[in-house]
C-alpha cells in the first residue's frame, strides 16, 4: 500500500481486520442456534384447521365406533400411541396424571398396533384414555400427519386443531403449553 493510500483512509482501514472475526461470530451464532433446533419437529399444517374426519372401532369394544364428531363441544386431547412405541412408555405417567386432574378428556389413537397388545399395554401401565380408537392400518394416522409416535393434538370445541406436539408430552409441556391453552379454549363458547 502506498503512503498516499494509507493517508487517504486511515479510519476506514483501522478496524477492517476485524471484519473476518465479525463474520465468524455471526456464523457461529447462526450455527449455535441451529444446534438447539430439533429437525424432527416439523411445523404441522394442520394447526388451525379442522381435525380430519375419521370413524374407527374402539380398542376395548370393537363393536363400538368412535368419531372425532363425538367430541363436538368439548376441548379435548387426542394422543397417538402404540404398545411398540418406547417413548410412549416414558410419556405415559404424565398422561395418567393429567387424566386424574380431569381438566379435559383424553382420547387415545392406538396407531398400527395389535389389539391384544394395546389392551395389555394399557392394563399394565394404566389407562388415561376415555377410550382409544383403534387405527390398525395407520390410515387415520396419515390423515393426521403422524410420523413419530407419540403425537398429541389439542382440539377445541369447534373441532379445530389448536396445538400439536410431536414427541413425548413432558410435565413442562403440560403446565406451560397444554393447560393454559385448554383453559383459554374452555372460556370460548
Amino acid at each position: 500500500m502506498t503512503a498516499e493510500n494509507a493517508a487517504d483512509a486511515p479510519t476506514r482501514s483501522k478496524w477492517r481486520f476485524l471484519l473476518p472475526l465479525a463474520a465468524f461470530l455471526v456464523l457461529a451464532v447462526l450455527l449455535f442456534v441451529g444446534l438447539g433446533l430439533n429437525p424432527r419437529e416439523v411445523p404441522s399444517p394442520l394447526v388451525g384447521k379442522s381435525a380430519p374426519h375419521f370413524e374407527l372401532p374402539q380398542l376395548h369394544r370393537p363393536d363400538q365406533r368412535f368419531s372425532e364428531q363425538d367430541m363436538r363441544g368439548k376441548v379435548w386431547l387426542l394422543n397417538v400411541w402404540a404398545s411398540w412405541c418406547a417413548s410412549c412408555r416414558d410419556e405415559h405417567p404424565v398422561l395418567v396424571e393429567l387424566a386424574k386432574s380431569g381438566v379435559m378428556p383424553i382420547i387415545g389413537l392406538n396407531y398400527k398396533d395389535k389389539r391384544e397388545d394395546g389392551i395389555a399395554w394399557l392394563a399394565r401401565f394404566g389407562d388415561p384414555y376415555v377410550l382409544s380408537a383403534f387405527d390398525e392400518k395407520g390410515k387415520v394416522g396419515i390423515d393426521y400427519g403422524v410420523y413419530g409416535v407419540p403425537e398429541t393434538y389439542v382440539i377445541d370445541k369447534a373441532g379445530v386443531i389448536r396445538y400439536k406436539r410431536i414427541g413425548i408430552v413432558t410435565p413442562q409441556i403440560v403446565s406451560q403449553k397444554i393447560l393454559p391453552l385448554v383453559r383459554e379454549l374452555n372460556r370460548e363458547k
Binding site: 502506498t2 503512503a3 493510500n5 424432527r40 404441522s44 394416522g141 400427519g145 410420523y147 413419530g148
Partner: protein, 155 residues
Amino acid sequence: MKSKLLTALLLLAVALPASAGEAAPTAADVALEKRVMAISEELRCLVCQNQTIADSNAGLAVDLRNEVREKLAAGMSEREIIDFMVARYGDFVLYRPPVKITTVLLWFGPALLLALGLWLFLRTVLRRRASAMAPLSSTEHARAAALLKNTEGDR
C-alpha cells in the same frame, strides 16, 4: 486385526436389519409401479429425513408408498397426490422445497455468497494491480532516498 474384525461385524450388524426390513410390494402393473416410484422420489420420508419415501424402508415410508399406489389406482393425478401429502405433512414433505418467501435464502443464498466472493476477489486483485503499477509520488521518492541514505550511513 481385531479392530478389522469388529468393523466387519458392525457393518454386518448394520446391513442385516436393512435387508430384513426390505418390503417390496408386488404390483402386477409395472407402469403403475413406475408412477408410484416417480411420485415417491418427490416425497421426503419424515422419519429418516434425508431419504425420499422411495429410498426408505421405514414403516411410514412403506405406508405412504401404499397410499400413493392406492390413490393412483383410484385415478388421482400426481399433482393431487402431492397436494394430499402437503396438506397433511406440510411443505417439508416435498423433497424439493417450493420457492417461497421463507425459502428464498435457501434457494438463492449459495449463489449470493458466490457472487459476493467473486466481487471481493475481483476487487482485491484489481486494487493490487493498480497499486503495483502506480508510479511513486515525489514525497515517496524523497522518503525512499532518505531511507537508502540511512542504511548506507550505517555501514
